[in-house]
């Protein structure tokens, strides 16, 4: 342990008052928590000032409630035989698909399954898919961006050419090919989307940001302090990349949900149920041809895809304002 240095009193200035500094770990923790809360609140107030931010949050909130509602309904008022999203059958209805009724607020599908139950059940998987894909993307892109900006040279060339290659590939077509070759379930789909996003465009964007952080004098200051490569990348570069990473997380959620919808519609995914599959079911039964007559087969799922995708996208835009001070209205 280093003893505090014996500093001589500064020449002209009078001796500074001796101030007691808290010695407990708890006070350190409290101070840090308070700080985190404070900066969260500051960011929150900017976010809440943007109308689209609030709107997107409300939409995401509604879908979150829907996702939580399904297991609760299944446990309480819905019996599994009738309401299971995959194996259920509405014995109370004569014709399938049946129009919305009191017992089936959004009607049933051609196989006699409750549409509302399907919708709610799928919401949960959409969230799981979107968030998994986003986390994978951001974890990869942030690391790749930071490492390739920091080390430069061949590492940088390799990752950037890889990113170019991925961008050049048509994403959905690639997923179609992959789904034909492998059985893609929800998790693998999230992983594939995450990896493509992480090594692709997001990595380039985060790398350019990391480059501007790398040349800041505080990086040099950290080196003079004795910090190694690992310290600099994880303590200085990545934390400063995180706001932007968060933003791209939001955008990745959007693209993941959208990609799932497309693949499910084409019937290429190994999923129990999803919004895309709901539309797929309606389509294979030929009900999409009937105009608006069987609207409950398409509109709930279609609207959900659109709404949740745009909510995450708009949320990202609002977050952009928090993250990117240049977009912020000046108030100092």
């Amino acid at each position: 342990m280093i003893t505090p240095p014996n500093f001589p009193p500064p020449g002209s200035a009078s001796d500074p008052p001796v101030v007691e500094v808290g010695h407990s770990r708890l006070r350190l923790l409290i101070a840090r928590t308070r700080l985190a809360l404070h900066s969260f609140r500051a960011g929150w107030s900017i976010f809440m000032e943007s109308r689209i931010g609030v709107l997107s949050l409300v939409i995401i909130g509604v879908f979150a409630i829907m996702a939580v509602a399904h297991p609760i309904l299944m446990l309480t008022i819905w019996d599994a035989e009738t309401y299971d999203p995959v194996t259920g059958y509405a014995f109370d209805q004569v014709d399938q698909p049946s129009a919305p009724s009191w017992r089936h607020p959004l009607g049933t599908d051609p196989l006699g399954r409750d549409v509302l139950s399907q919708l709610l059940w799928s919401t949960r998987s959409e969230f799981v898919l979107g968030i998994t894909a986003a986390l994978v993307t951001v974890a990869i892109a942030t690391t790749v961006g930071a490492v390739s900006a920091y080390y430069g040279g061949l590492v940088d060339v390799f990752f950037m050419r890889l990113a170019d290659l991925i961008i050049a590939l048509p994403g959905i077509s690639l997923l179609i090919v992959l789904s034909a070759l492998f059985k893609l379930n929800l998790f693998y789909l999230a992983l594939v989307i995450g990896i493509l996003g992480g090594f692709g465009g997001t990595a380039i964007i985060l790398k350019s940001q990391a480059l501007s952080i790398k040349v800041k004098p505080y990086i040099e200051a950290a080196r003079v302090a004795g910090g190694g490569h690992f310290h600099i990348i994880f303590v200085h570069i990545i934390p400063n990349l995180l706001p932007l990473s968060l933003l791209y997380m939001m955008f990745t959620v959007t693209s993941a949900i959208f990609a799932e919808a497309v693949l499910s519609f084409l019937g290429l995914l190994d999923l129990r149920m999803s919004w895309g599959i709901m539309i797929h079911t309606a389509n294979t039964g030929g009900y999409l041809m009937g105009g608006t007559r069987y609207w409950w087969l398409v509109v709930p799922a279609g609207a959900s895809i659109t709404l949740l995708c745009s909510a995450f996208y708009l949320g990202g835009r609002a977050l952009d304002e928090v993250v990117n001070p240049r977009l912020r209205r000046r108030h100092d």
Binding site: P4, V19, Y218, N240
Partner: protein, 348 residues
């Protein structure tokens, strides 16, 4: 080459930091597939020595290489050639003996950690030299934390102590603030605290006051002097401002396009500048006295970048004293024209 002989005779390296023939070139227009053919000679054959508790001002115009010298001394950059020898407490010499001179290129691994404790730097820009996401405590404790000095609680005490020392009192009100909540002067105090918290023997200060307001500038200058004097820290003060260097340093070295052209005790240099560039520089500095009349500096042309400069004196093109001899001969040697007064010029 000098780099091949790490053993320096002790007599030749009495100083805390000895620099001889230090050269650093930066390639121009290099890419992955193309080797650079041109080089900026940012620092070219620079030699000087600093003793414990000494202070040297490195003065010159922008692009003269003064900051590069500073970065070379703290090992943020590696020299192209030439050598820097340190004689720092805790740093073992090449043969393993304690407190013996050690060459910069030999400082690796465990030695480098010790080196980082003994040699610190204060940066120019108080706004950019601190990670905006980290608190003042994190910033100052960084060197302690990465070197594993003390426990978290010890560090809080050490940081508090140094905060008081740099005049940020009471420390508890500063510990957990972020840099953007502080004024420029306060941040530069934090920067000084970060450099001094490990009790270094040598500090490079890279224009620490040039971005500050007049009033906070004086505070920082006085603080640095008091602390360096009180703690026996030697420092290299890099600045473009001769007036500031006058107040901060025992000796001043004037740089021009990568070369030190003159080095002398501060007052000697101001009263009796020998090199024509030093004279020009001195006569260009405005004086805060309306009744003082300055002669216009006798210097022609504009500053150029030292990209593949010719062998002759770097100042030749702009020099009022230049002769054919200057044109036909290499850059003049750095010679002691009077006791402690070194100049590189044929004409003085």
């Amino acid at each position: 080459m000098e780099a091949n002989q790490p053993h320096t005779p002790p007599a030749a390296a009495e100083g805390l930091v000895s620099v001889s023939g230090l050269t650093r070139q930066f390639p121009v227009g290099r890419s992955l597939f193309r080797r650079a053919t041109s080089f900026i000679h940012a620092v070219d054959d620079v030699s000087f020595q600093l003793n414990a508790g000494d202070s040297l001002g490195l003065v010159g115009e922008s692009g003269c290489g003064k900051t590069t010298v500073g970065k070379l001394l703290v090992k943020l950059l590696e020299p192209t050639s030439g050598r820097i020898t340190y004689r720092l407490p805790g740093l073992d010499g090449a043969a393993g003996q304690e407190n013996a001179p050690l060459e910069a290129s030999a400082i690796i691994g465990r030695q480098l950690r010790t080196f980082r404790r003994q040699v610190q730097m204060i940066f120019q820009d108080p706004y950019e030299s601190m990670n905006p996401r980290r608190t003042i405590y994190d910033t100052i404790a960084e060197p302690l934390a990465v070197q594993g000095m003390g426990t978290v609680l010890d560090r809080v005490d050490m940081v508090s102590e140094i905060l008081m020392l740099v005049g940020l009192t009471p420390p508890a009100t500063f510990l957990f603030r972020h840099p953007h909540e502080l004024s420029g002067g306060q941040r530069q105090r934090v920067a000084i605290a970060r450099a001094l918290v490990v009790e270094p023997a040598f500090v490079v200060a890279d224009e620490p006051t040039s971005m500050l307001d007049v009033s906070s500038r004086t505070g920082i200058m006085n603080l640095m002097q008091q602390l360096a004097h009180g703690l026996g820290i030697a420092y290299l003060y890099v600045t473009h401002d001769l007036a500031v260097a006058r107040y901060m340093c025992h000796r001043i070295a004037v740089m021009y396009l990568g070369k030190i052209v003159e080095l002398a005790e501060t007052e000697e240099l101001l009263r009796n500048p020998l090199h024509p560039y030093t004279r020009a520089l001195l006569s260009a500095v405005p004086v805060p006295n309306p009744e003082y009349r300055r002669e216009p500096p006798s210097i022609v042309g504009d500053l150029t970048a030292p990209i593949d400069p010719p062998e002759r004196c770097r100042f030749f093109d702009r020099c009022p004293l230049a002769t054919h001899y200057c044109r036909d001969n290499p850059h003049p040697a750095f010679e002691e024209k009077a006791p402690g007064h070194w100049v590189a010029c044929y004409e003085v």
